[in-house]
Amino acid sequence: DTDDVGHKYYLELELEDVLDKDRTVSCTAEVLYHLGSKSSAPDVQLTVQGELRSTEEADKEFYTRIRSLEKELVAENIPDSHGNVPPELEPILLLAWAASGYVIWQNSTENTKFNLAQVKHVKQVKRSDEDLQFDYVVLLHEMVSQEVLPWQVTLLWHPQRGARVCQCQGPAPGA
């Protein structure tokens, strides 16, 4: 579809649950790539037809585990060179996918295809409120140019409030 505003795409998608391969959910989406302005992210409207699986228990477990860590979590190279992911870091990788999704959305055009290649570095930042904060450096692979470039992105997460990317400043270390 073409307008004077840009190119609009109507999509029918099937989402597959990576953690439960037999589960699929149908969605429809409208994506509008704006004409001209390269610095503007595409508009996306998504409708999920069906239900996403409840992850309440796993969320709670993860939340409690991270909150009770004495030292802030720090990790790097997830997966490692051989594709391994330590089980306790799986949720960190999943959150990295969410964070990367935001960066990818902000930087996508009709001529890009991004993928999260690796979490280069992740650092938890303890907060005075109830959110978990993770400062990521993610490597995004862009298929057309074949570039693999690092991006910094900070993610806040809470079991009920979900994931949000923030432009936030963490508390100063030692403060």
Binding site: S81, N115, A117, S145, V148
Partner: protein, 408 residues
């Protein structure tokens, strides 16, 4: 005077010590900078050559950690400096020599195990391990011969395995992998084979690591390295995309003329010795009927063209054969491969190998992008090596059998 003599003796001792290449007492620190000012301090430190600091991650931006190896003699003074500036650091490695000794021990133990058992096809390997297995295959099977077709930029041998049960100059099939060094699954798959059935009529030539310099670099320095490791005159950037360097639409759309780009086509076609060696070998042989190349990731099975978006003359046959091969692949684990021309399926890309082979009379030219579709991407877990190998093999076999039938 006396001080000069002392200095000379000291330097001589230092020289001798350095020659031993020991890392006893060397520490690796991880430094966490909080702001640009601290980054500048570290860059200053970097410039002090007498400290002999070896930065594993160089200071560049506040958000990124700085990892540095410090020789024993400089450890105390560097730490004192950091502390006086209020710069946070932690000790990654207390004594590097201990770590190296342990690693050597581990590898010796595993090598011991490997000598008594066969090559572990379910794990990723270093270049040396792969080359050792090539020697092993050549010595164990009379129909397997190891041939050197050239040398890489950094002078590593380019080894091809020839599978032949006789005849002279039989119609031949070419299979290569690892032209892009970060695509480990391709090279690891390449050494797992069972192709004796085909060999009555045809010879098979296998180049498991087409870009050995890049491959070693992905093990030692940067897991995401793609290109060769050649120096580009006039640029600080290194390496050429070997799959944009072939003489097929060279320099056209779909390749970059910027040396710092991942898809840099190089100063001229065949400038990369890794590419030229293959071109010369194939031309000299003169009887190749198929050219197959393995990459990752995306699960695609493609035929020419990449440099232009028009269909090749043999479109119908190649499309049909591609679909049949994808069908064979799917039959094992349900893994789906998309089939089509390079341009329509992935992107326009000039200077690619199968475009060159096709335009030079090798009709059955196919490029595979193996598992997966992005969840692990280049970092495919080792547990998927064997399944990927088995399914891909069915696809390759389907193509090779067709080539055999058409070549007799």
């Amino acid at each position: 005077p006396a001080t000069m003599k002392l200095l000379l003796i000291f330097s001589a001792l230092l020289g001798a010590a350095l020659c031993l290449e020991t890392f006893v007492g060397h520490q690796v620190l991880r430094i966490k900078t909080k702001n640009e000012e601290e980054v500048k301090q570290l860059q200053l430190l970097e410039s002090l050559e007498h400290l002999q600091l070896d930065f594993w991650i160089n200071p560049s931006a506040p958000a990124l950690p700085v990892d540095v190896r410090i020789p024993a003699a400089s450890v105390q003074s560097v730490k004192a400096f950091l502390e006086s500036q209020g710069i946070e650091y932690s000790i990654l490695i207390e004594d590097l020599q201990d770590v190296l000794d342990k690693e050597k021990q581990d590898m010796a133990e595993s090598a011991q195990r490997q000598r008594s058992t066969s090559f572990d096809f379910g794990a990723y390997h270093t270049l040396d391990e792969i080359n050792a297995e090539l020697d092993h295959l050549a010595s164990e099977y009379s129909f397997v011969e190891k041939i050197q077709i050239g040398e890489s930029y950094e002078k590593r041998p380019l080894y091809v395995l020839k599978f032949s049960t006789g005849g002279s100059q039989r119609p031949a099939i070419w299979l290569d992998a690892g032209i892009h060094s970060r695509e480990w699954i391709a090279s690891d798959y390449g050494t797992d084979d069972s192709i004796t059935s085909l060999l009555d009529k045809m010879d098979l030539f296998l180049l498991p690591v087409a870009n050995p310099d890049g491959f070693v670099y992905t093990h030692t320095s940067n897991r995401m390295w793609r290109k060769t490791r050649s120096k580009i005159p006039g640029s600080v950037c290194i390496g050429v995309d070997p799959n944009r360097n072939w003489d097929a639409g060279f320099g056209g759309p779909g390749a970059s003329n910027n040396p710092c780009s991942e898809s840099y086509h190089g100063p001229s076609a065949n400038s990369e010795v890794e590419v030229k060696s293959v071109v010369d070998f194939i031309k000299n042989h003169g009887n190749f009927k198929a050219f197959l190349t393995l990459h990752s990731y995306s699960q695609l099975l493609m035929y020419p063209y990449g440099y232009k978006c028009t269909r090749p003359d043999d479109y119908a046959e190649l499309e049909s054969l591609g679909r049949a091969a994808a069908s064979s692949i799917r039959s094992l684990y349900g893994t789906t491969f998309q089939v089509g021309t390079i341009c329509k399926t992935i992107y326009q890309a000039s200077g690619g190998s199968i475009d060159w082979s096709y335009d030079n009379g090798i009709k059955y030219s196919f490029a595979f992008e193996l598992r997966d579709t992005g969840r692990y991407g280049f970092l495919l877990p080792a547990s998927q090596i064997l399944p990927a190998a088995r399914e891909t093999w069915l696809g390759l076999l389907r193509i090779m059998e067709h080539v055999r039938d058409k070549s007799s």
